[in-house]
Amino acid sequence: MRRTFLALGLIITIIAAMTGCTRRGSNCTDPGGVIKIGVYGDLSGQTSSFGQSTKNGAQMAADEINARGGIGGRQIQLIHEDDQGEPGKAATVVAKLINQDGVRALIGEVASSNSIAAAPNAQDAKVPMITPSSTNPKVTEIGDYIFRVCFIDPFQGEVMAKFAANTLKAKRAAILFDSNSDYSKGLTRFFQESFIKLGGQIVSEQAYAQRDRDFSGQLTQIRSASPDVIYVPGYYQEVGVIAKQAKQLGINAPLLGGDGWDSPQLWDLGGEALNGNYISNHYSVDDPSPAIQKFVADFKAKYNGVAPDALAALAYDAVMVLADSIGRAGGTECSALRNAIAQTKDFKGVTGVISLNAERNAIKPAVVLELRNRQLVYKETIQPGGASAPPPTASPSASMSPSNTNPPANTNATGANTNASPAANTAGGNTNRSNTNTGAMNTNR
């Protein structure tokens, strides 16, 4: 008798759980009230600087929106989840955000591998997900509910290839990539294709694994190939050590990287060894445009004087784009919200003007920054292929940099030059050169 009861109870529980799931899964209508948005990222793992920046940037956007009365009178609430930087956990916390918290949209992740792992859950539940900063193309290919507000790696790889070939006049490049990361592998491929197309040669290609702490073996092989530049599209944790060990081996070729280097922690890891290296990034904190300077000042005021890195700025933009879309959709009904996000056009964000294309990717320019004495110093802006003029927000002059280490000779020649060369670009893109020691001149291909 007791067993029957037990079995009956179990069956009822299972049915209840199943109906519960279906109800939530198919719940596309806007429940009204406070709009819940899930933000997930690495808050305690290897790349926790990424997650913290994203969390801070997103929260600042949400607070600003709420302070000015919310979206159509409705407040928004961010629910932050930690995935410890692991793809499996990213998928789990996204399922939790959707099923338990009932979020109407998702912001995350930074690392492409984590976004790729989590996105199918969002897609299946028809919860729009905007990744602020995952640049691997595969992320948005997962489905029509997945968006991003940053550029993608084919462009980012091309930017560095162009910078290496045109500005640094490099002929021989070596690559040292992270074999655990989709981001790093993607960038490696795209850099390689572009660099070879520009007449360069890849003289050595070496891999490392995340959590490696000794790169001397790879760097020694790279050194023996005597490259002009070394492309290291990794994350800051390893890059700091790589830069230091490269110097220990007496390698003087500059290291080139991507937005994965951007973290305040990078300087603690690499120190002086980072000077003279270059990265491609989404924006520059030195950009004198009032919108950016206001954002930087507000962010510093809110978070104890820490300057926002690109990941914070992108998270801020992602929440702003989402809020704008919710406003245009008139709520969070899932297909209406999805369509509204997809139609985002000429949205003026901190990281540039955001328009989403048919692949749900943002088409934006990239900046090249030089690492110098714990600063990211603006070098040049590279436009996406076919764009004719640099957007106003993305053309700061190097002379505005707070770093006082710029040789004085550079100061005024370059400021004018940066804005002076937009029209002459070719199909591949346009390189505005500024602030180099070899003299200021345009290097339009």
């Binding site: 305690s44 290897q46 790879q218 023996s224 220990q248």
Partner: protein, 304 residues
């Protein structure tokens, strides 16, 4: 040629670190027949202790005095941690089967890793650079950096010191006696508990030195840094013949060189450089199959 020499330097450098850690494994095994799986985490504790000492002293720039204080301070801290682990985790279960102590060791290892993650977060931290690092050119392209020289110098000095302690001091004689036979040693009036504690302290101090030295060479420390390094040092100890002190050093150097050569030249033989970790464990399997006692291990060996 210069590339090969460079890879050899790199490999010996990594190997010296493995050797320092392997010494701790092998000494504890020699005395207790216990594989102290928490030993890799002692290496991590040593690095963290060095980090906090350096920051506590406000050391930002390079200084030899500061480096010495950090090195010695972290060795003392780690020695105390090692002694505490022995006293509170291993001694209470020593009377049970060896399997019990082995599982306890794994438990202690997980406890320390997760305690540190919970307390300090999983992200890496930059270790203060106490050495004005630079490269010295040897010939061709081959170069050796100051931090590499430091690793060689300190590890050789510590190994000589260890050799002296074991063969020239009273406590060393007692250690050797305990490693031959714990019960007989006790009957001869040796305070075996004290000797075991001392062995843990000695091994832990060496691991901490390895932690600080590594942190000068590759300046990132994180709570999980001891896992792979510790396992490789364990493999090194087994390769050399666990329980055998020169064996641990030889094993460490061999593993270090082997994995660096895989990174350097593996591609020529179709082995990707990311297989470097696999190589250490492949060596472990081969040793266990072909020569379970290790390169220098024989049945009659002084085990300390």
């Amino acid at each position: 040629m210069d590339t090969f020499v460079q890879q050899l330097i790199n490999g010996l450098n990594v190997g010296a670190i493995y050797a320092l850690i392997a010494l701790g494994y092998t000494m504890v095994y020699g005395i207790l027949r216990l594989i102290n799986f928490a030993h890799g985490d002692i290496y991590m504790v040593g690095a963290f202790a060095g980090f906090f000492i350096a920051n506590g002293m406000g050391l930002a720039g390079p200084s030899w005095g500061g480096l010495l204080v950090v090195l010695v301070g972290s060795m003392i801290t780690a020695a105390l941690v090692g002694m505490a682990i022995e006293r509170f985790a291993y001694r209470p279960v020593r009377k049970y089967s060896r399997m019990t102590t082995l599982i306890t060791a794994i438990g202690v290892s997980l406890l320390m890793e997760n305690l540190f993650v919970a307390r300090f977060g999983g992200q890496g931290r930059g270790f203060p650079q106490l050495l004005q690092d630079r490269a010295y050119h040897l010939f061709g392209n081959a170069a050796i950096s100051k931090s590499q020289i430091l690793i060689f110098a300190v590890s050789i000095a510590l190994m000589v010191l260890l050799q002296w302690i074991i063969f020239r001091t009273k406590v060393g004689t007692a250690m050797r006696a305990v490693s031959f036979n714990l019960n007989s040693a006790k009957l001869m009036g040796i305070n075996t508990n004290a000797i075991i504690t001392f062995t843990f302290a000695l091994g832990s101090a060496l691991a901490a030195a390895a932690g600080v030295l590594t942190a000068q060479y590759s300046p990132t420390i994180d709570p999980l840094m001891g896992i792979t390094t510790g396992l490789k040092a364990f493999v090194a100890a087994v390769l050399g013949g666990i329980g055998n002190i020169p064996g641990a050093v030889l094993g460490g150097l061999l593993i270090g060189v082997a994995e660096t050569m895989v990174v350097g030249y593996g591609a020529n033989f179709g082995i990707a450089s990311t297989y470097r970790d696999a190589v250490a464990f492949a060596i472990l399997i081969l040793v266990l199959l072909l020569r379970p006692s290790g390169l220098l291990g024989t049945t009659v060996q002084e085990k300390v």
